[in-house]
Symmetry: C2
Amino acid sequence: MKDERRRLLADKTPFPDDLDERLRAQFTFLVEVDQLKTVLRQSPLAAADRRENDAEHSWHLAMMVVLLAEHSDQPIDVAHTIELVLVHDLVEIYAGDTPLYDTAAGMDQQEREAVAADELFDLLPGDQARRLRALWDEFEERRTPEARFAKAMDRLQPLLLNWMARGGTWRTPGVTADDVRARKAVIGDASSSLWKAGRRLIDEGEARGWSRSAAPED
Amino acid sequence: MKDERRRLLADKTPFPDDLDERLRAQFTFLVEVDQLKTVLRQSPLAAADRRENDAEHSWHLAMMVVLLAEHSDQPIDVAHTIELVLVHDLVEIYAGDTPLYDTAAGMDQQEREAVAADELFDLLPGDQARRLRALWDEFEERRTPEARFAKAMDRLQPLLLNWMARGGTWRTPGVTADDVRARKAVIGDASSSLWKAGRRLIDEGEARGWSRSAAPED
């Protein structure tokens, strides 16, 4: 991968030679990330009988930040939080989506995604490559209130879709309602009111049999 | 439509009765706009053999604002411009997409979309309904530098996709390269460098036969 240049989407229909160099890099990146629309997630849409893709998901998170930022326990910079969610899944273009309840795939996920980030962001002019990489690192590290809120949206959005689907990925074999609560608890790191609502939906889903309660005996 | 309440997506799996009222309105809206993922546009994806939907498109525009804002001829508030593109197509959930080159459908488009905006945004708490309506109106009216830049992205993004598809909707029957230039000229109201690049792609596409040159004789 280091020596051999990946074939880019923009290579299929190369831009005219006389295009400004910086703009060419930006257009090349913007065409390359069209692939985010083809990375399928596990979550079922509420509006159609198919799974969601990463671009749709990222747009939905951005809308959630706009409307739910007021529920953050700490003050957050809304614009910055939106930028975090817009870029947070980009590396999956090269690294693929890692399902939340797939523990094995999650193990080398960090490494695969770091390599993907290097390769993808380096398509941009240097200053913008560094800026997007910094946004992605910030989201992953979850040390700022903005990153914690962005992560909360990333967990709350599929929770809403699973609620609408009366189960969705909560029905993944081997997954219990306790697993769901454990994976979603990071919502509470950003917003106590949203986590209260999220837990309410998970609990109610469990009560209705949309997720599996842990067997008390084994 | 006025007397009869539209059946909402959230009505399919109603939220628990004890959910906080403001949060319920926000969740109801956020579930309803899941439908943006089902509104198909004419543009072909670069990354797959299918048409783009409005949610994917909106995410792509937001990424373009992040990376291309530097090309605006006037200083713009990037965060505000991102919010404009995130919400600019929401009314199509109820009003449908109006293809750029469909002149007849364009005639009552404004009216249909204004009715849709009233109905959709009113699902939100009053303050947020007014805020999103103001964003949508601002985008439509194109009086601010941010709205002009948002509109420029809305025209530049399918131009990139059409370039990648070696024609795409430029091949719409009855449409000429001059029509394309006329419809895309608004890019120049926001950015002379982006319009220079956009025109270059349209001209080159015409030279390669990806769009129809106007017949000189009839």
